[in-house]
Symmetry: C2
Subunit: 393 residues, 2 copies
C-alpha cells in the first residue's frame, strides 16, 4: 500500500473525508454549523424541529402547506404498536434507556408494511415513523420504569411539546416547550460524527433504515459520544458548589483528566450550539428556581478554560454538551435520558444520511464501506502457525 494508507492506520479516520455530502457543513475554524445551506443560528431562531426535519429530509425549507402535511403525518405516527408497551413492561426497570431505545426502535417497522421495498418514498415515510416513534418509546419507557402508565399523544401539541407531555403527563409551559424544541433543532444533525457514520455504513450494505438507525443508537450510547452530556451532569453534581470548582479543576488537570464538555474534535471556537443553549439554560434555571447548575457551568467554563490555557498554552472551547446538561436537568429530565434526547433529535439527521447513502449517491459510490486492516498478529515462524494437537499444547 502507499503512504496514504499508512497514514490512516489507528487514527480513527480523523481528518479523512470519506464521502461527499449535501447535508451538513461543520466549519470548525469559523465555528459555523450549517444544515443544507442554512446557519444553525437562523434555524434555531426561526424554525421548529418539524421544519428542520423537513429541511434535512427533503433538502429544502417547506412551504406552509407542506409543513402542515408533514407535521400531520408525524402526528399520525405517534401511536406506536401495542406490543412495544408490553415488551417494555417485561424489561428490568434499571435497564439503560439507550439500550431500551436500541432494542425497541426496530419494532417500529411493524407499522411500516413497505420496509422490504425500500425505495426513496418508502424510506422517507419510514424516517417519519422513526422520528415520531422514537420519541414515543423514550417517553413510554421513562413512564413504565417509574411504574406509571404511558401517556397517549396529544395531537394539539407540536413534536417538542408533545414529547414533554408524554413524558410528564402535563402540558409544558410555552417557554419550556420552545427551549426543548430549539434543543431538538440544535441536535438534529452534525455531519459525519460517529453515530452518523455508523448509520451510513449500515445503510451502505443496503440494510433498511430501521437497522441503520438502531445501530446509530448503539453507537451514540457510548460514553465518548452521546454519553458526554450525562457525564457533564455527573461532573456538575460531583462539584456541587461554586467554591469547589478550583479544587476540582486542579485535581483533574494534575491527574491528566479532562473537563467534560470542553473540547471538540472539529470546532476551534466555542461550539455555536453551546452559544445558543447557554442563555436557555440560564433562563430555564430561573423558571425551575434552580439556578445552581447554570452558574456552576458558567464558572467552570471560565476557570476551566483559563486553567487549560495555563497548562497547555492553547485554548479550549465549550461543546454542545456543556450547557445542554444543565438545560435538560432544569427541565426535570432524568440524567440518563439525556442521550435518548440526543437520539430522538438526531434521528432526522441520521435518516437524511441513510437516504443520501442509499439513493442520492448511487452512481459513483461503491456498494459498501469496506476498509482494510494491517495484520500485525503472529505467524509463529516464517509463515503460518502449525496447528498442534490438543495434548501437545
Amino acid at each position: 500500500m502507499n503512504d496514504c494508507t499508512l497514514s490512516v492506520i489507528n487514527t480513527g479516520l480523523r481528518g479523512v473525508d470519506v464521502a461527499s455530502s449535501k447535508i451538513c457543513d461543520v466549519r470548525g475554524k469559523e465555528g459555523k454549523l450549517i444544515y443544507r445551506g442554512f446557519l444553525i443560528e437562523d434555524l434555531a431562531r426561526n424554525a421548529s424541529f418539524e421544519e428542520v426535519s423537513f429541511l434535512l429530509l427533503y433538502e429544502r425549507l417547506p412551504k406552509k402547506q407542506e409543513l402542515e402535511n408533514f407535521s400531520q403525518s408525524l402526528k399520525q405516527k405517534r401511536n406506536i404498536p401495542e406490543n412495544i408497551f408490553s415488551f417494555l413492561k417485561t424489561l428490568p426497570f434499571d435497564m439503560n434507556p439507550m439500550d431500551v431505545l436500541q432494542m425497541a426502535t426496530p419494532l417500529l417497522m411493524q407499522n411500516d408494511h413497505k420496509v422490504s421495498e425500500p425505495g426513496i418514498e418508502n424510506t422517507l415515510c419510514s424516517a417519519e415513523n422513526l422520528i415520531s416513534g422514537m420519541a414515543s418509546i423514550t417517553a413510554a419507557w421513562d413512564r413504565i420504569r417509574n411504574k406509571k402508565e404511558p401517556v397517549p399523544p396529544d395531537n394539539n401539541l407540536n413534536h417538542a411539546a408533545n414529547f414533554l407531555y408524554m413524558l410528564n403527563g402535563k402540558i409544558p409551559d410555552d417557554e419550556t416547550a420552545r427551549f426543548f424544541d430549539t434543543s431538538l433543532v440544535l441536535h438534529a444533525e452534525h455531519s459525519f460524527n460517529a453515530s452518523t457514520f455508523t448509520a451510513r455504513q449500515v445503510a451502505s450494505t443496503r440494510a433498511h433504515i430501521y437497522a441503520a438507525v438502531s445501530s446509530a443508537i448503539g453507537s451514540l450510547s457510548g460514553a465518548l459520544h452521546g454519553g458526554a452530556n450525562v457525564r457533564v451532569m455527573e461532573m456538575l453534581k460531583e462539584i456541587g458548589s461554586v467554591d469547589r470548582i478550583d479544587a476540582y479543576i486542579d485535581n483533574l488537570l494534575s491527574s491528566g483528566g479532562l473537563i467534560m464538555g470542553l473540547g471538540h474534535a472539529v470546532y476551534q471556537t466555542d461550539d455555536p450550539r453551546a452559544i445558543i443553549i447557554a442563555p436557555m439554560s440560564k433562563r430555564m434555571g430561573q423558571i425551575a428556581n434552580q439556578t445552581l447548575w447554570y452558574e456552576l457551568t458558567r464558572e467552570l467554563e471560565k476557570k476551566g478554560k483559563a486553567a487549560f490555557k495555563a497548562k497547555k498554552q492553547r485554548d479550549i472551547f465549550c461543546n454542545v454538551d456543556f450547557f445542554s446538561a444543565s438545560l435538560f436537568y432544569a427541565m426535570g429530565i432524568a440524567t440518563d435520558l439525556f442521550s435518548p434526547l440526543f437520539a430522538i433529535s438526531r434521528v432526522s439527521g441520521w435518516s437524511a444520511h441513510v437516504i443520501e447513502e442509499q439513493f442520492a449517491m448511487a452512481a459513483p459510490k461503491p456498494s459498501l464501506y469496506r476498509p482494510g486492516a494491517e495484520y500485525v498478529g503472529d505467524y509463529c515462524g516464517p509463515d503460518e502457525c502449525v496447528f498442534t494437537d490438543m495434548d501437545d499444547r
Copy 2:
C-alpha cells in the same frame, strides 16, 4: 486537505487500512485466510467452533482443560431469559429473522450483571453470553414463527449440534452436525468486512459489546453483505435446472447483472472457504437425497466463470456464499435463516474485534472513529443561504 484525503472520498474506504489488528489476515492474492496465525484449512479440519471461538477471543489455541471449561461456560449460557420468548411471541410471524435477531440480542444483557463495568474479563464473559444466546434466539424464533414451542438446549451436544437440535427438535446425525460445525468455523471471522467495521466503530465510542454486536447484525442484514447467500439460493431456485443455466447467464450478463456468489472484494482466487464448503455441499446433497442444488452450483460456477472471462477478459472466483447456500438448503434450513447463521458464527469474530478495539489498542489509538465529509451542498450565493419567511417561499 492533502491528496490522501481526496483519494478516499466515496471509495467506501476500499484498500484503505484503518487499523492494525492481530485477529485475522486475509491474503487476497494467495487465497489464504488466517485466524490468529492459523490457516483456515487447518482449523476447519481440526478444530470445533468452540475451539476457534476460544482462539479468536483469547489469542491462542486452548489446552484441553481450557476448552472444556470454555465449552461448559457456553452451555450454561444457552438458556436465555424467559421474557425473550414472550417478546418473540408478540412479533408478526413474517418479520425477517435478522431484524428479530438485531432487536433481541441486546436482551441477552439481562443475564449479565456487569455490563455497566465493561472490563476485559466482563466483556469476554459477555462474548460467551452472546455466542450462546444468539444461537438460542435464532432457533427459538424459527420455532415460534412456525407455531412450535422453543426446544430447550441439550447439554450433551456441542454448540453446532445443539443449535440444530434447538432448531429442529431432533438430534442431527454426526455428519450433518460436523458439517454445520465446520461452516460455523469458516464464517467466524474475516477481518474488516462491513459488519465487523460497524462493531469496531460502535465499540470505539465505548458502547458495550451488546450494542456493538447488535449494530453489526444490522450491518450484516443488508442485501450486499450477509444477504448474499440468500440471494445465491434465490438465484439457484430461479434457474431451477441445469439446462437453463446458459440462458440465465446470457440474460444476466447482457443486462449488466452479476452472478451472485462470484466475485469478492478481497480474494483474487477462489475463496478458500468455498473450496472447503464445496465437497460438504455435495455430500450433504447426497445425505438429503437432493443433489440438484449442488450440481446447479457447480455447473453455474464453470459456465459463469467462462462467460465472465469471455466478456470481461479477466477471471472471477467463487466466494463463500456460493456453496454455503446449497449446503444450508440441503440441511433443511429456511433460506431466510442463512444470514442469521452467518451472524451466530461471526459473533465470535465481532467479539474479538470489540475486545481489541476497547482493550488491546488503548494506548496509541484515538478514542473513536470520526471521519470527515466533503460538503457539496448549496450555499445559495457566496455564503450561507438566507432564511426566508414561510409565506415568501
